[in-house]
Symmetry: C2
Subunit: 341 residues, 2 copies
DNA sequence: CTGAAAGCGCTTACAG
DNA sequence: CTGAAAGCGCTTACAG
């Protein structure tokens, strides 16, 4: 029960392989109606399916692209990946998914495997540990798009949030609602991860804009496992913050857990705005004010940028595409002094 | 700047392609130390990377497998996919991800594309609309594993939750805590989707086990967009339920939204147990009692089953692997009559 | 210990 | 309008 090949079809239809190939590629210009029908019938009878691997080898194009995320379990990544897969599938590309876990060694290995498999392009949520590898791809004019994070000094199209503004929106909203002392908490600031750095930066700028002092003890950026401890420090400060900005969905979970464990009432005892929309924001008590990212548009844009590189001959100058965050006001950041419920 | 091929390496090292190939495949048995070093050096100098597509064509194996989920946005799917990707990557396989959206036409197209791309195997969260396609794969002895859902009459290894028991655990727990009238709500029961059908079935059996009547008006299975209306019906029954079992994470969101909008207090006004662990279960007020699935073990098992098919010659008889759910007791299902907070 | 040759299943420029 | 031939970049059985 061997799979039929193009030769089998050719033999069965009494034509040459070339002619079958013409048929498969819909080049009917010079094909006699009768030949065409015969081939069509043979394909159906033999239940022939072309072998894309052979085709790829000849055409040097696999219609497959690789996506390397840090971890697909983050809802931001899940959503972006879903949007990418949709867009690529619409254009008859397949998507290979890889989780690099912010580990440059793992990321490098994935890149090499994907290149060896001749994927036509790469969409990467980059770690900052493989600049040399990225540079090689850029130099070779290999199609590549970054998402979520930039890598400085590298000319690569990048799709990301306007993080500066995201933090600014949160600060502005809290200030307008009467909060004075505002803290911010993100996951570790060590790796120089763009969104974290930019969000803290945007937080500082916004405070300055409102002529409020930037207090270093209000800025917390540590690995997830240390966040509870950081929160304890925050709340035992001589002057604890009146509000806190959560840098992403992971910090949010830590903050909510800490609050629950310590009987701190969100929205009442402390104001809260979190960056990244979460599924339960609306049904939480109190409902959570969030700054959301247009994840689907971002994924779609990343896929589009890559697809364009396949079509257009010349490489256009690379750009950073900053997407606009939007503030969704709910109850966790109600005006100070206003009674709740 | 063309990519170097095995011929370039051969020429550069003054050996034949065969010898380079031996080197690449680490068959050093008969290779002179000196030859080996020369090849090694040439590869490094030319920065040669083997072309896996060519290799795949010859070896008839791509080291790539396809995963077709309904929708990766469901956290169950995200987690299973993550586990699958990890396991496959450990075994040097790549994972192509596809979202079929419960659409048999889309699913069929994905299967065909993946087969044309010569993936070595398939892991599918099956719709029930492509039995003929599955049957063809089974007949051809093509490696395939189902996840989450079974397809009756088909001999395919399947990894799923013991749904019957999951619903049973929820019922038992509620009954033990004094709840009398227990409803269950899932998404649409039309498509004959295994987990939904089995959960409702398990619910019924458990009620009978406790000698409680099964009341059809307490069983709700509709498309997500109709759930609010179904909830309204439930709560306007002459005798509304005292507790509700949520069939999955989507129904949970609808229930929580409905409760919030209508001032119904979860855990106080109505007991709640939800199947599928959700990230915020612990920090919700009240915290949510859940029945959780061992998602990562399930994904790993699915990958393992597939990998085994590649290694073992003979096809072992196919099996259904039922995974055990676990009840995580929290506050949304506290004993009736016991005061809360 | 190494090389020449055939072949995996396609596509395409060219000839007729 | 169709076919023979070369080639994509590998692997492997076989010969020496």
């Amino acid at each position: 029960m061997k799979k039929p090949t193009i030769s089998d079809v050719a033999e069965h239809a009494h034509v040459s392989k070339s002619t079958v190939s013409q048929f498969l590629n819909e080049r009917f210009d010079y094909m006699r109606e009768e030949t065409r029908e015969r081939i069509e019938k043979s394909i159906a009878e033999l239940n022939y399916q072309p072998n894309v691997v052979a085709r790829s080898l000849k055409l040097k194009s696999t219609a497959t692209i690789g996506v390397i995320v840090a971890n697909i379990l983050h809802s931001f990544s899940t959503q972006v990946v879903r949007a990418i897969e949709d867009k690529l599938n619409d254009n008859n590309f397949s998507t290979i998914i890889c989780n690099a876990d912010d580990d440059p060694i793992k990321e490098k290995r994935y890149i090499e495997t994907l290149l060896a498999k001749q994927v036509d392009g790469l969409i990467i949520f980059p770690t900052s540990g493989n600049i040399a590898v990225y540079q090689r791809l850029v130099d070779a004019n290999y199609p590549i798009v970054f998402v979520d994070r930039c890598v400085s000094g590298l000319s690569v199209d990048t799709v990301k949030l306007e993080n500066h503004e995201a933090a600014g929106l949160a600060v502005e909203h809290l200030v307008m609602n009467g909060y004075e002392d505002i803290a911010i908490m993100t996951t570790s600031l060590d790796g120089d991860i763009t969104p974290r750095v930019e969000r803290v930066d945007g937080y500082k700028c916004a405070l300055e804009r409102f002529q409020k002092p930037v207090q270093e003890e209000y800025i917390k950026g540590k690995d997830r496992k240390f966040l509870k401890q950081e929160l304890a420090e925050l709340f035992s400060l001589p002057k604890p913050p009146q509000a806190i900005i959560s840098g992403n969905d992971l910090t949010l979970m830590e903050i909510l857990e800490y609050a629950t464990e310590n009987g701190i009432k969100i929205g009442t005892d402390i104001g809260l705005v979190t960056i990244d929309e979460v599924a339960f924001a609306q049904v939480y008590h109190p409902s959570l004010t969030t700054v959301s990212q247009p994840t689907f548009e971002m994924g779609e844009k990343a896929a589009d940028l890559l697809l364009n590189k396949f079509n257009s001959e010349k490489s256009i100058k690379s750009q950073i595409y900053n997407f606009t965050p939007s503030l969704i006001v709910r109850d966790s950041s109600k005006e100070v002094g206003v009674s709740h419920e």
